[in-house]
């Protein structure tokens, strides 16, 4: 005669599950991090061979310890920086004061006019991090707007609607040319 196995009462299963749920609810952190991604340059070798860059090709951005901006020797403001950088990086082959330009051919986008300009960023040890990020952000915004314009002109699409190859082509045609000065020795 088969013995009847008594059924296990499962009414407390819910309580156990709730306990586990509470544990995971407390420990979970679903915050996603966002940020400005940059690539540091490799360390420079000790040689005095300075790369000669023509003065018209450089836009000097200085941030002092009081978070004041100096762009090409003239005081400026963070709200103007994006437009200044964008104007500087827009290729203008007929302007003697603008950076030099060159024609280059890329896949997908074809021949484009590129500016040889470089934005040189230098900050003081006393500059606040918030100001530094603001400057980096405004410069990135200038380049993103140039890319958006290029994207609209070449593909008639917004930058975020491009596929991977197209994005790469645009990134190659409008590189982020921001160079951070070597920190001075004190």
């Amino acid at each position: 005669m088969a013995r009847k196995v008594p059924e296990i009462n499962s009414s407390s299963q819910a309580d156990i599950a709730f306990l586990l749920l509470c544990f995971f609810l407390m420990t979970t952190s679903m915050d996603v991090d966002y940020g400005i991604t940059r690539r540091l340059p490799p360390p420079v070798e000790q040689n005095d061979e300075d790369v000669k860059v023509k003065e018209r090709n450089v836009m000097n951005v200085l941030v002092n310890k009081n978070d004041r901006l100096l762009v090409n020797g003239r005081p400026s403001d963070i709200s103007l920086l994006k437009d200044e950088a964008k104007r500087f990086m827009t290729p203008r082959p007929n302007d003697e004061t603008a950076p030099e330009t060159e024609r280059k051919t890329f896949d997908l986008v074809g021949e484009v006019l590129m500016s040889k300009g470089v934005i040189s960023l230098q900050n003081d040890r006393g500059t606040s991090y918030a100001m530094y990020i603001s400057v980096q952000n405004e410069l990135a915004r200038a380049f993103n707007e140039l890319r958006e314009e290029m994207s609209m002109a070449k593909f008639h699409k917004h930058l975020d609607q491009l596929n991977e190859d197209q994005t790469k082509a645009i990134n190659d045609a409008v590189p982020v040319r921001v160079s951070e000065a070597e920190p001075a020795e004190y």
Binding site: F18, F24, G35, I36, L40, I78, S134
Partner: protein, 155 residues
């Protein structure tokens, strides 16, 4: 007419709770999959500045964070300090720390390792520059300035 007369007392039937554990288990699995345990106890304040041109930090397993900011313990002053893992550190310790972080990842992942700088907005750039110089020396070139979403002009 008796055919339509209600029989007995009018009672609301009890809601069956037998599927409650299943629902809760579903929630558990969701949280178990999305969870990532907080790995460090922050000893420094990291109120990060805002920026708009930001990218999502993908693959958290390939990100190691350096925290820089004024200590939470006010007895230690207000000067910004560097925190690696669970302890305060000096810029000179970064090389060893990066090496340790690299060793804990698989061979294929090592070149993709990103260093996230989580820096308090009132920190002076001197400390950050020192950290960046150390990172350059050991070849950890991929960095990310972790920020909040917002307009950079409000910083």
């Amino acid at each position: 007419m008796g055919k339509f007369r209600k029989e007995g007392k009018k009672e609301v039937p009890q809601v069956s709770t037998s599927s409650l554990p299943d629902i809760v288990y579903m929630l558990i699995f969701f949280f178990m999959i999305t969870t990532s345990m907080r790995d460090v106890e922050l000893k420094v304040k990291t109120a990060m500045p805002k920026a708009s041109e930001i990218q999502k930090l993908e693959k958290k397993a390939l990100v190691s964070s350096i925290y820089i900011g004024p200590p939470r313990d006010t007895k230690l002053g207000t000067e910004s300090r560097i925190q690696l893992d669970d302890a305060f550190a000096r810029p000179a310790d970064i090389a060893d720390w990066i090496q340790k972080e690299r060793d804990s990842r698989s061979e294929a992942d090592r070149p993709l390792l990103t260093t996230a700088l989580k820096v308090h907005k009132e920190t002076r750039m001197g400390v950050v520059t020192d950290v960046k110089q150390e990172l350059r020396k050991v070849g950890a070139f991929r960095i990310n300035y972790t920020t909040l979403k917002g307009s950079a002009l409000e910083n």
